[in-house]
Structures are given as C-alpha cells and as structure tokens.
Subunit: 119 residues, 2 copies
Amino acid sequence: MRFDPSNLKFDDKGLIPAIAQQQGTGEVLMMAWMNAASIEKTLETGHVTYWSRSRQSFWAKGESSGHVQKLIELRVDCDRDCLLLIVDQTGPACHTNRRDCFYTAVRDGEEVVISEPMV
Amino acid sequence: MRFDPSNLKFDDKGLIPAIAQQQGTGEVLMMAWMNAASIEKTLETGHVTYWSRSRQSFWAKGESSGHVQKLIELRVDCDRDCLLLIVDQTGPACHTNRRDCFYTAVRDGEEVVISEPMV
C-alpha cells in the first residue's frame, strides 16, 4: 500500500507523536510532534522536520544548532497514531546538549540526573 | 528532588505519552498514555499500568493476555511532558501478537510489514 500521511490518525490539533530512535544503538533520543506536512517534508528531504507546538511552525531539527537528524526509516504503529523515526543523530538531540532528552530517572522515589551535556 | 507525578506536564485531558523500551535490547515496543494515577500505580506495583483512552479506565498491561511489562525504570524528558519506561516485556507487546507495535515501515513510499506475530 502506498503510504499517505492523510491516512494516519492525528489528534484534534492535527498532530501525531513521533519517537526518534538512533539507528544501531537503539537509544531513544526524544519525542516530538508532526503534522501531515512535516511528515511529507521529512520524507522529501531525508531530514527530520517536526511541528513546533510552541512556535506553531515547522521545526527542521538541527537547522540552527547543526544537530540534525537524518531519517533512516519511518515506521507507523498498529493504531496508526504514533510514529517511530529511525534516525542518525548528529551530536546531542536534546536542547540541553545531552545526547537524549530522557536524562532524568526516578530511582527510589527520587529524581536522578543520569547523563551530562555532551558539549 | 522527590518525584511527584503532579509536577509533570499533562495535556488538556490529563494525559502524558509514555514510550516503552525493552531493557537490554533497546527495542521500542509501544507508546501509550498515562495519567497521574496510572503512574502512581505503575511505581507502586512495578507493573506498567497505562490509561486507556478508548475505555477511559486503567489498563494494567498484560492483565488479560499475560503479556505484562515489568517496570525497570521510569524516566522523564527535559520538558517533563513525555515518559520513557524501561521495561521487561513478557512476549508480545502489541495486540497483534507482534513483539512491538511499529511493524509497518515506509520504504520507497510503500508501507511494508517488517515483522510477524510471535504466537
């Protein structure tokens, strides 16, 4: 079947969550949101473009920082309401300059920072 | 800092997306939703409990199928609006009996099924 973003299930704001995972290592880097147009841009350009909910505009990942995400493969989940992006991430994925955004673990009821900025 | 689910950023329905990742292999198994009470249940019991948006009730993962998710560690992202659950998944995570929900890849513009049911 031909992939058509309009056949995905978007929320009431026209958005779908997208998880970015590093190819090879399997690291879960971040989760952000896409709309149909940003999915199309991502597939066309080969570079991951999210939709920024705060700025209400396209968010070409790494455009200003250089920390781009090259798309390796886009996957769709069974309910068609979540995407998994297999990517090749240059440098940190997180705006804190950490490799990934999930650097706070809950251990024995306490929040513990488990990674440091790369740069 | 003591972890308090009420300090997370929930959406306008009181929900937060939660990504389940298999410990060790790094497989991204699924994404589902939690509310504050389901996070507390998950931490208390050590077994992942989501919030079912369709049934509007707790969804103790694997309660009927036996395909439970044992919680290894809960992580919070930089914006506090997404969770990463490091889990130990018994059998398939997907209701299609596949190991994970992201079994549809987009390759050359076509949807391709890349894994089969385990049972």
